[in-house]
């Protein structure tokens, strides 16, 4: 499965495409189960990049664990959570609060 991720232009914060917009957490990112869905996500990313909403757009591998979307690679897990050495920073901080 693939999901669409990028960084928001104005503040650089990592975002994931979910439910018609860019969410600040990966949890409910739109999943592409097949090539056609991947192409659709990719087209959304290309348009959002061209519209100057986001930068560094990528389709990445993801799984669903207990109904929550999780990236597969460590790099993307860290983007989705925050630095592993500072739980008070990044997405994980907001989640804990």
């Amino acid at each position: 499965m693939k999901i669409l991720t990028a960084n928001r232009l104005s503040d650089g914060i990592a975002v994931w495409y979910a439910d018609g917009g860019w969410a600040e957490t990966v949890d409910h990112a739109d999943l592409a189960h097949d090539k056609a869905a991947e192409d659709r996500l990719e087209a959304i990313g290309t348009k959002a990049y061209a519209d100057n909403e986001v930068v560094d757009v990528n389709l990445i591998d993801a799984d669903v664990v207990d109904g929550i979307v999780e990236p597969v690679r460590l790099r993307e897990k860290i983007r989705a959570a925050g630095p592993t050495i500072r739980n008070d920073l990044g997405k994980q901080a907001a989640r804990a609060a």
């Binding site: 232009l9 503040d11 460590l74 925050g82 630095p83």
Partner: protein, 556 residues
């Protein structure tokens, strides 16, 4: 320290205005990311994993209290309350919004700082010995020459689009604390037999995926020829350096592929065309820049010895800190102090907003308002009266920055790694933290003695692992982090590149492996005075390989 003149102020203000306009146009969608990326990089703005990153230049690592206080202010107001001091004597903020960058740059300009040329294929921040101007063993302060190079290289029209980035380091002492042989140009300030100042010139050092030790191409270059000779080197590089392959574009590859004799001939030939023209430094200009770096008026403070002796008796922790973090100054009543940013289990090089402000206060009160950032990711107070050392120590204890581990195994250089960096393939910081905790006992660290441990989270080697006595390189293998160990590197006047010792280790295994290496060293050293690096050079890798991998061979 250097103070901006009218030209400098106008130049930096103009750049702030220009880049602010570019940011506004980008946010308004008037310019594309492809157009904006080179502009933001020229101004130190990167995009990392979690957010933008802003890298701010600290020229040759020299700061005053007002500047450090401003960095603390920026950390608090625009970032997340901390900054990260880097191996290039700069500072990085990990979370700034692009929309805040114009305000940050305006704040920086108000204290004579900027982020220009902290990225891109240009001449980067010139680095220098962090004890420059204070060291008892230096021939002369190298910073005036670093400043001359800074002025010459700032928006240099010919050298703003080089094949690749270009780094220059300067030292003024035989004992090289600026790692000059790992730079594109390394300059060793020295005196000739006639007592005149000049430089031994090294070129082609570098780390990254192809580590190389710089080659000396000139034993003595008169100081007046500094800019003409550097221009000659840069011209040869700019003309012949490879642009077809990013990974072969640094001058080290050109030196290697051309041969040092031939490239020396080319540089010397180019220099002959330049040496007697407008780049010859007028003596008056050199002296004018040197005047900015005039040492503070160090009045005699002969009460220092008695005060230190008394305080030593009173506090073992103070005594330990004196032994480890305080070095001899050229004035016998003074000392240079290393403020360790390597507290046990802390993130190497990180300082909080309030720590930066407190250190600024200490510098203003006790250290003639002078500070340095070391390439080893610590802060330095270069001039402290020995009589004030206890007061400085107590103030550092109050802010958690009195760890007595300078040059010991927990004084680890580590790049940001995969916790922050978009290029990284593995994490560096958690490995540094775990090793630091494993060797937390100061008594044990001191028994081990000087040991430079350096960790990079990818092959680009920002954590200087190639030149660590023990180097650790994190890579990704089959989706997991794997840590490769090199031994025998060093970044001093006897620079060497470490050798890979064998198969890599998982994140769970690496700290045990490091401990095994250290225990092996302790078992084979001739005496407690034989440092790790000296013992390694004497015995080579075999005993370490045996200790790490013999069990596997038997099992197989």
């Amino acid at each position: 320290m250097y103070r901006y003149d009218e030209f400098d102020h106008d130049f930096v203000q103009a750049r702030v205005a220009e880049f602010s306009d570019q940011v506004l146009r980008r946010l308004a969608g008037e310019i594309t990311e492809d157009q904006f990326r080179p502009l933001r990089l020229m101004n130190g703005v990167y995009l990392q994993l979690h957010a933008y990153m802003l890298r701010i230049a600290v020229p040759y690592g020299t700061l005053n209290g007002k500047q450090l206080r401003m960095l603390g202010h920026i950390a608090r107001k625009y970032d997340k309350g901390y900054g990260h001091f880097t191996t290039r004597q700069n500072i990085q903020f990990n979370w700034p919004a692009l929309s805040d960058i114009p305000a940050i740059l305006a704040d920086l300009a108000s204290v004579e700082m900027h982020a220009i040329q902290t990225s891109g294929n240009c001449i980067r921040n010139v680095t220098a010995d962090h004890f420059a101007g204070a060291a008892a063993d230096e021939v002369a302060d190298p910073r005036p020459y670093a400043e001359i190079l800074r002025q010459w290289s700032s928006v240099h029209p010919e050298f703003s689009f080089l094949p690749r980035k270009f780094k220059i380091a300067v030292t003024g002492a035989e004992r090289d604390r600026a790692a000059i042989q790992t730079h594109d140009i390394g300059l060793h300030l020295k005196k000739n037999a006639a007592g005149e100042l000049g430089f031994a010139v090294y070129i082609g050092g570098g780390q990254g995926r192809t580590p190389m030790v710089a080659r000396k191409i000139r034993d003595f270059l008169p100081e007046v020829d500094l800019l003409s000779y550097c221009t000659a080197i840069l011209r040869v590089y700019n003309l012949y350096g490879r642009r077809d392959n990013k990974y072969k574009a640094r001058i080290k590859i050109l030196v290697h592929e051309t041969g040092v004799e031939e490239i020396t001939r080319q540089v010397e030939a180019e220099w002959q065309e330049l040496k007697d023209a407008e780049l010859k430094l007028p003596d008056a200009d050199i002296r004018a820049i040197q005047a900015y770096f005039a040492p503070p008026a160090l009045t005699d403070r002969p009460d220092g010895d008695a005060a230190v002796k008394l305080a030593r008796l009173d506090s073992k922790s103070f005594s330990d800190w004196l032994d480890q973090n305080v070095v001899t100054h050229r004035h016998p009543d003074y000392a240079a102090v290393t403020i360790s940013l390597k507290g046990i289990g802390e993130v190497p090089g990180d300082a909080s907003d309030s720590q930066m402000e407190a250190v600024a206060d200490i510098a203003e009160k006790y250290a003639f308002d002078e500070l340095r950032v070391s390439h080893e990711q610590n802060l330095i107070l270069p001039h402290v009266a020995r009589a004030d050392l206890k007061a400085v120590y107590d103030a550092l204890v109050d802010i958690g920055l009195a760890t007595a581990n300078s040059n010991l195994i927990s004084d680890i250089i580590a790049c940001p790694g995969l916790d922050y960096c978009a290029l990284a393939t593995a994490r560096s910081i958690p490995i540094a933290q775990e090793i630091s905790r494993r060797f937390a006992s100061l008594e044990r660290q001191r028994e081990i003695g000087e040991l430079k441990l350096k960790i990079s989270g990818c092959i680009n080697a920002c954590g200087h692992h190639h030149v660590g006595h023990i180097g650790i390189l994190g890579v990704e293998k089959k989706g997991s982090e794997l840590y490769q160990v090199t031994l025998g590197g060093s970044a001093d006047e006897n620079t060497s590149v470490g050798e890979i010792i064998g198969r890599g280790f998982s994140s769970e295994e690496i700290t045990d492996a490091i401990e095994q290496i250290v225990e092996t060293y302790l078992g084979l050293r001739l005496n407690p005075q034989e440092k790790f690096i000296d013992a390694y050079r004497r015995v080579g890798p075999a005993p370490f390989k045996e200790a790490l991998y013999a069990g596997e061979a038997k099992a197989a």
